[in-house]
């Protein structure tokens, strides 16, 4: 059964690894450039020794050189979705073409069939997702030091979340496939659903995955502990009257809250500190991977039940 499952999954797995290799071919040279520039311009040493605002010129130079590349890289947040949906395709095709009935009328039980047919794409998604995570963790290194690792684009492609994203896209497409038995519809809707879920989590849920902290201070100068934190919402009051309010979840760069003319205002911030990076990463990864497992279990139940 393992051989059959691999044979049915072979092309898609190789294409998924090909996409990973293609990304590596693109990112490794630019990543080497970035790390080079980061070290040789003294930016790394500067950031290591000082708070970021005192390395202004070096940061400016670095950004000018790599900003377009970094912006482009934000699109790579779609890659786990593509990989997951791609790896789900053979299973859905098996259901659509009715070839699963061929396997079910050989001598293996459905339990063994399911284990092999779903286990292999799961392992492949784990492998490729892990590869993506490794590649991006390295490539995002310099920009993570610069913009803070809680910056949405950086957070999305570092740590372990890419593994969760890949598994989630796989699970979603497989569950839809088990429901509809239509390849094209399941894969397209699976990808769109992946994207929509990601947007929802990025902008709404993520800020609350780990309880955020609150801070209150007086005056226009933001406290230094907010330098590499993510501001979730910010209010300013003068004599108890609200004069400024802002939110927007995890959107936007590190908040610059120094607003002129608000010298006497009291600021209230809800924020995620830099130290919450790993708790957030692990919670979000577990969330996506857990939902992926539930979706795959649903697909298995559905497939066993329908006939």
């Amino acid at each position: 059964m393992t051989w059959l499952s691999w044979r049915l999954q072979r092309t898609e797995t190789i294409v998924a690894l090909g996409i990973l290799a293609l990304l590596a071919a693109l990112l490794v040279p630019t990543g080497i450039n970035m790390w080079d520039a980061y070290h040789h311009s003294g930016l790394g040493a500067c950031l290591g020794a000082n708070p970021s605002f005192s390395c202004g010129n070096r940061i400016g130079d670095f950004r000018a050189q790599f900003q377009s590349l970094s912006d482009l890289a934000n699109w790579f947040t779609l890659v786990p979705g593509v990989i997951g949906v791609l790896l789900a395709a053979p299973f859905v095709a098996d259901l659509e073409n009715g070839t699963y009935r061929l396997a079910w009328t050989q001598s293996v039980t459905r339990g063994r069939w399911l284990l092999a047919r779903l286990g292999l794409p799961f392992l492949a998604a784990l492998l490729v997702g892990g590869g993506l995570a490794l590649l991006f963790n390295w490539w995002r290194g310099p920009t993570a030091h610069l913009d803070g690792r809680l910056d949405t684009g950086i957070y999305d492609s570092t740590g372990t979340v890419m593994i969760g994203y890949t598994l989630f896209a796989l699970g979603l497409a497989i569950a839809l496939g088990a429901l509809w038995r239509r390849s094209a519809a399941s894969l397209v809707v699976g990808f769109v659903g992946y994207f929509a879920t990601r947007i929802g989590v990025d902008y709404k849920l993520r800020a609350h995955l780990v309880s955020p902290l609150t801070a209150t201070w007086k005056g226009a100068q933001e406290p230094s502990f907010l330098n590499d934190a993510r501001i979730i919402s910010l209010r300013a009051t003068v004599h108890g009257h609200e004069v400024l309010s802002g939110g927007g979840g995890f959107i936007g760069g590190t908040a610059k809250v120094g607003v002129p003319g608000l010298k006497n205002a009291v600021f209230h911030a809800v924020y995620q500190p830099n130290s919450h990076y790993w708790p957030l990463q692990l919670t979000e990864t577990a969330l996506f991977a857990g939902v992926a497992l539930l979706l795959i279990a649903f697909a298995a139940w559905r497939v066993l039940r329908t006939d």
Partner: protein, 294 residues
């Protein structure tokens, strides 16, 4: 020894629609049985229930004495199944399809499978996708046969084939039966396809069984009687009337005779199998019309 296939009041419902209803039959081991009925009579459902692809909504089914669902691990290796659309993995080469059989079946006979493919003049490297309908059917049959099943179920195996491929396919089935002890059930909505190869017949109509028996016995027991109209009632009392038509003074009855017809006023004609089957299917159609009318 238990029957090859045995059902008791077997039924399967999809939503509110019964695909198969109250089907009771027994197919003896070693027989080659034609499962005949109009489209939608439940032939496919019955075979899928027998191989465990579908679960019964009512009644029970046993293959070789086993429950195809609960005892799947024991039953599956002993039952071969060929679905109507001959599902095969399109992107596989023929040799890869054989490997599928080898990997998935403990009783797989690889030599026999390769010999059959060679006999069919099919190159092992050829992709399944590029085969003709007849060739696909043959490869699918090879897969089902090399599993060495005790019971082979073929669902409309020749429906999609041209006349020549039909002949060749059925010939292959016959050869396989001659080679080793095996029970075969073939379904079709056209009897002529199967008459040549079968020794047993099951007529399935409106989702329930109408007639089960050996073809020899069925042909021997069915007669067409022509005689006086006023004598028709006497005949009905002893024999089972399948179809009747009445003229002003004369009646024509197609009966399943219970012994001889002694009444000398009746002329007795023998019938061939096709006429008998048509009578049953006609009876079924008439019943359905009545059901619709009422």
């Amino acid at each position: 020894m238990s029957a090859a296939l045995e059902t008791q009041a077997l039924g399967r419902r999809y939503g509110s629609q019964w695909a198969l209803r109250d089907c009771t039959l027994e197919i003896p081991r070693g027989s080659v049985t034609a499962l005949v009925g109009p489209n939608g009579a439940g032939k496919t459902t019955l075979l899928r229930l027998a191989v465990g692809l579908t679960r019964p909504s009512a009644g029970s089914v046993r293959v070789l004495g086993l429950d195809p669902h609960a005892d799947a691990a024991d039953a599956l290796p002993r039952v071969g199944f060929l679905a109507q659309e001959h599902p095969l993995y399109g992107g596989f080469r023929i040799e890869e399809m054989l490997r599928v059989g080898r990997e998935l079946n403990p009783g797989w006979d690889d030599d026999a499978a390769r010999a059959r493919i060679a006999e069919l003049d099919l190159p092992l490297k050829k992709k399944v996708r590029s085969l003709s309908g007849g060739q696909r059917a043959q490869v699918a049959l090879t897969l089902a046969l090399a599993k060495r099943p005790e019971l082979l179920l073929l669902d409309e195996p020749v429906a999609s084939l041209d006349p020549l491929a039909r002949r060749e396919f059925l010939q292959s089935v016959l050869e396989a039966v001659a080679e080793r002890e095996m029970t075969v059930v073939l379904s079709s909505h056209i009897l002529a396809d199967l008459e040549r190869v079968c020794d047993h017949l099951v007529i399935l109509a409106t989702g329930s069984t109408q007639l089960v028996g050996s073809i020899e016995e069925i042909v021997a027991s069915h007669r067409l009687l022509t005689g006086p109209r006023d004598g028709a009632e006497d005949v009905t009392r002893t024999h089972e009337v399948i179809r009747e038509s009445h003229a002003e003074r004369q009646s024509t009855l197609l009966v399943r005779a219970n012994g001889h017809v002694y009444d000398a006023r009746w002329t007795v004609h023998e019938l061939d199998l096709e006429e008998i089957v048509l009578a049953y299917l006609g009876q079924d159609a008439a019943r359905r019309r009545e059901a619709v009318a009422s």
